[in-house]
Symmetry: C2
Subunit: 339 residues, 2 copies
């Protein structure tokens, strides 16, 4: 029997229609493993080609044998440009702003063939520290309103470059979607005197059915009203509105949790294309009592079609409780796995 579930945080309805369900193995879009070499001479992100990228913003130095572990560079094909002033124009129904902003690329590793799911926890922690250094630096710029950190893995997730990398876009406006979620969370806080995310995390920890894993500082779970199969969220246990508030030990712990969840998806769904994004309160709302940052991981196993576009409602063919059980029971090695 199909079920409509309402997202507690956004009030969006999702249709859970498991009559159409496939087994997790059938959801994977990649039947045979990707064959990727560890070094590609023409790849601008591979070691030795540092001169092919715009000048470096930040680097995590390498240890034995490598000159770097993580590099942050400006995106050569930036969607927004740093050398502009965000001037606004309003002409009746037409509202626009000069395209000021920052668009960075974070090169996760020198190894062309090593997705995050197969990195060591220490390497993932380096990537997260680079995210945070850039996030913190950009938060100081008063022209920046929102910093979005994300990763596109695979062609279906919108990437054109194979070498493992992440991106950051800092925009001079708060997006409507983020503004609206803040308002919803504020309404809840005003009515109940609690962070709605903290409340949900406590409920999920008690109920266990949608839990994927829990560490000292983080909880990974399938959301009750999951819009797509195997959407997985990682929440800090401690109340924090913004990514900037995460402490050093939390970043280290998040690296382990993120890598483990990605490894579970990698092995369980045969290296699916996916996006992840750090959903933080915008910089001006760092510290508020009503919002809670998290990492949202979205495997790209299905296509958005006309119904989703025309209504904003999603149809999900996998029960979140079944996805959670599948991921929870999947054993993955600690640390780096063989190639």
């Amino acid at each position: 029997m199909p079920e409509l579930r309402q997202n507690f945080f956004t009030k969006e309805w999702v249709i859970i229609a498991t009559e159409r369900a496939k087994r997790p193995e059938e959801l994977s879009t990649h039947r045979s493993p990707r064959k990727i070499p560890p070094f590609v001479e023409s790849c601008p992100f591979c070691p030795g080609n540092e001169g092919k990228t715009p000048p470096e913003i930040l680097r995590v130095p390498g240890d034995a044998g490598a000159s770097w572990q993580v590099r942050v560079i400006p995106n050569k094909f930036a969607a927004l440009q740093r050398d502009l002033q965000p001037t606004r124009t309003i002409q009746r129904s037409r509202r626009s702003l000069v395209g000021f902003g920052v668009h960075d690329v974070i090169i996760d590793t020198p190894d062309h063939a090593q997705p995050m799911a197969r990195m060591s926890d220490a390497c993932v922690a380096n990537v997260l520290r680079a995210y945070k250094a850039r996030y913190d630096a950009l938060s100081l710029d008063s022209r920046i309103a929102q910093v979005t950190i994300f990763k596109n893995h695979g062609a279906d997730a919108g990437t054109s470059l194979e070498h493992p990398h992440s991106q950051l876009i800092a925009s001079p406006v708060i997006s409507h979607q983020v503004r609206e979620r803040l308002e919803e969370a504020l309404r809840h806080y005003d009515e109940y005197g609690e962070c709605m995310f903290c409340q949900m995390i406590a409920e999920e920890l008690a109920e266990q059915t949608r839990l994927v894993l829990a560490s000292d500082h983080f909880v990974a779970l399938e959301p009750f009203a999951s819009p797509t199969p195997f959407a997985t969220y990682i929440f800090p246990r401690r109340h924090m509105a913004g990514f900037a508030d995460a402490g050093a030990s939390e970043i280290t712990d998040l690296a382990r949790v993120l890598r483990t969840v990605l490894a579970k998806l990698y092995h369980g769904l045969q290296d699916p294309d996916f996006n992840y994004t750090i959903r933080s309160a915008p910089t001006e709302a760092t510290g508020v009592k009503y919002f809670h940052w998290y990492v949202s991981i979205i495997p790209r196993l299905t296509r958005v079609a006309g119904f989703e576009l025309g209504s904003g409602m999603f149809i999900n063919t996998v029960l979140p409780e079944a996805a959670a059980q599948f991921l929870r029971e999947l054993r993955v090695e600690a640390g780096p796995l063989g190639p």
Copy 2:
């Protein structure tokens, strides 16, 4: 220079980044024409296989040689089911509703190989009349809150069946996205005493730069803050909140406009995958002064990636004014085109 544009109706920001632009010909994802036979014996929607579908709800009878022109049937793999009661359950953060609803399939034509872009205006009008008959019938059911009519054309648009068809999903809830757009339109009406869509249409008709075509009753245009390349909207000139308000002569005119716009996309972008959807006020808001229904056509030329998922902001690499000029200047035959 990139530009941020704000959608007047939804307040969503879009990044227009034309430095990354491609020419329209390069956007097409289909280099060689699809090869589709006019009849497929195993296709449940082809003539002679009527017994393979669930019992018919509605039929537009055929003329010489064909027993039908359009058929409406229940979706065999329905996302929502008609024989349920929409009972609601609330347990703290978990809100759900039994999956009551209606999920129809509209078989556009008996011809397996004839996409709407190559139909006659009369055939498209038959399809639209079938939409309207079902829309009107379902609007009478007090358990139904919203009726979404849509088409998925091609695999990237989420279709699995090749035979030209459309779908309708009637849900017992108003989706959050639709609710929010209504609220935004109401706010504008309360402040300015006008329908914000009527105002924009008047502006666009005066300015002409984003216009694709205009008929007696409809205006097709590229929206100023277009989220994706070649997104095209068709608005009725007359103020109407709901699709149910469209009159017979308007439906006939819409058929011609819709077929012409689809033919322009078909020839200009080499038969791209696309979705269209009829964006109407929900049934309970039929007749309101502040909302305006329209047809939204979204060619699926690009992939949604992590930035869009994580912020709700889109990056569009094609200037809407350039897309409008391209489509405006493209000549397509009136009526059916050769196979």
